[in-house]
Subunit: 235 residues, 4 copies
């Protein structure tokens, strides 16, 4: 059961290991017989989060199958503490699937924040933008298909070369596996208001997955991490 994101993308949980109890189990290895007050699981998890005892959160692992536009993938892959297997455009043929924003997500360059969006475009302007994006994607894919065609009389260009003509809104996919500590770090940066909308919707979808999977850890994360960033931003 994949969670749909954007127009053709999705996030799908392939497998996971551990849960809130596994975080506590690992943390309690440290305390051995020395533990005097047996803390309940939620209290312990909140304590660990508050004090940056991050290693017990690394004891949970999740593997996702994600379909996403290339320009989103380029931001995502910057998070190095994960394991990744991506669709190979050297080996395989990419599908004709491009991200075309919904009109209400087309925004002007922000004037206050150089790295971001400002007001939503007017209907007319949006239409103009969408027309360009659609026409260019379509033409680029036609040319890609033509270049790699194996039919008699075709050029038969190597796939690894032909793909260079495809724009960054084409979709790719990958398996992405990460531990909970580093996933929360990813979510802190990418579910944040400063992140680009197109990666934020993936982060938001994953937030829901995580809230279901490890409810105590996610609640502690919301209380101590998400809040903490905005605080320092206002400083």
């Amino acid at each position: 059961t994949a969670i749909p994101v954007l127009d053709h993308g999705f996030v799908r949980v392939v497998d996971y290991m551990g849960d809130d109890a596994a975080i506590c189990q690992a943390a309690r290895v440290s305390y051995g017989k020395g533990t005097k007050s047996v803390q309940n699981d939620e209290g312990l998890i909140r304590y660990l989060m508050r004090h940056w005892h991050s290693t017990p959160f690394e004891m949970c692992e999740i593997k996702l199958h994600v379909k996403l536009p290339v320009f989103v993938a380029r931001q995502w892959i910057r998070h190095r503490t994960a394991n990744v297997n991506e669709y190979s455009a050297r080996y395989s043929i990419l599908d004709r699937e491009f991200y075309i924003p919904a009109p209400e997500h087309l925004a002007a360059q922000s004037v206050v924040n150089n790295q971001g969006r400002g007001d939503t475009l007017s209907g007319e302007d949006a239409a103009k933008v969408l027309e360009i994006l659609k026409a260019d994607s379509s033409r680029a894919y036609d040319h890609y298909a033509e270049l790699i065609s194996e039919e008699e009389g075709s050029v038969g260009l190597a796939r690894e070369l032909a793909r260079m003509n495809l724009p960054a809104n084409i979709y790719t996919q990958w398996y992405w596996k990460v531990d909970l500590h580093n996933l929360l770090h990813f979510l802190r940066l990418r579910a944040d208001a400063h992140a680009q909308y197109e990666i934020r919707v993936y982060a938001d979808a994953i937030c829901n997955v995580v809230a279901d999977w490890v409810p105590f850890a996610f609640k502690a994360f919301e209380d101590y991490r998400m809040g903490a960033v905005s605080m320092s931003v206002q400083m």
Copy 2:
């Protein structure tokens, strides 16, 4: 069901995620519809191992509970690509458990290889060594217990300080979680003939676990990695 190692140690599988099929599943993400010859799982895994396509092996994860002497733990922890939670000797009281080698594993300093063992000690020499190790461990623990005692009239030294008196053959324990690629790298270095006997027996125990868990991957590892090292050593 813990696998006993050395005199008081063990390795126990707490949890794992993925198997041989998961390696192939991830590798096949790359190939998409482009795959012409559908390779069988074993063939694909051998191909990946041979060509150092290591990322699909990262898609499997295992979590072990290990009890081991501190001097072994010091070697083990040098492998950074793992997640660890160790028993805290700041917080908790260590048990009176020390590694005392079996007489047949007491060896003289190697004369050919500075970093290693030579011939086994004679019975008399072995007895002398064991006597020292036992007496010193025992005395050190008595002193540790005395220093941290909470009884009336005791010094009541902080645990984090008292432990500094304990020798490196005392046992500690931890949860250790790692992906299969990096676990195999660990095994390559630590199940090797050059590794110290006391860590090698742990590596050997884990080799058996891995051979059961992901038989194709383990076989490929034995054929292409274990062999490859000794080959270059002879060069």
Copy 3:
């Protein structure tokens, strides 16, 4: 002094730390007074390489400034053991610079190896391909410029959105810092015959840099690593 690579790219050394002597200095920390035979630097480095004692090689660090096409950057960034700062297309405007292959590097899809190139295209076919690549790049950039234009009456689309229309042969740039051990691992995979030509030329340029910087280490790498891969491939 930047080393030119491809039509608009380059590799430039910004800074580095350590050299062959630094590898030996770190390795000798381990040996302390126990070293009996004082090995010369080259012998020691060859010994370390042969036995996979990789940590002393991590003691050298290099920082490069690289300009490269996006589809090459996508392969390169998969190497996680590096530090990276990339030009931001959310914040800044990309230049009108696209990689257009030299005709002799336009090749057909390999028929024996799905992930690679076969024969070079004929002159006529090459001309056709180049025409498409040039026209599409040019049109895509015109549209990009139009979309982000800040002139009166323009749409003024946010940069982070407009860039999605740009094809993967546009150039980006980054600072890339890495330790020598992981750089050699990168070179082993990317200066290899199986790597795509367009990343291989960067790897080759860096090989020259490394051979100048740490000649003993590079020689040992060539002898024990580069050779070792092709050997196992033939198995």
Copy 4:
């Protein structure tokens, strides 16, 4: 010029790469021509720190030579994002140097915080503790020397085995290389009031080094990171 720490330890800067200007230089790669307001270096560094733009801080690297007791080394090595070469007690003979705390740093187990120290011991209690530590260290080293002795008639035990008898207050040494971002993370956790005194003094010494090396970055770290932790602790 080594900075003395504890009774026999030290921290010594071997080499470094980059400075405050290098952080800014890397950060500015992102902004390209798009930068409208040219921020001064200090302002930019504070901005990056506040917003967790951590990658530019990874562009600075430092290599330290550290001599430290084994129980401190065991805490330190848990920081995985560093490069390490440690003195080998398999290969070499450890020196007769043990950490013996100054009397004023001998404290009772804390009653409020299980993982920590409480009041300083009385003069009499301190004397008793020191006597035990000194006698046990001394005896352990005598036995170690006896076990590994190469004299005629000695046991000649392998070094890798004999060291297991040595207590955790013996000194070891290593080369430790790390980037500035991860060094600051280390300092945040280890220069903190909750860290054990014996590692905190090393962290404090390194804080001074960093304040000299990258004054703007260190100031920003003090303002936005050190403060931030204590804040959440009080929550």
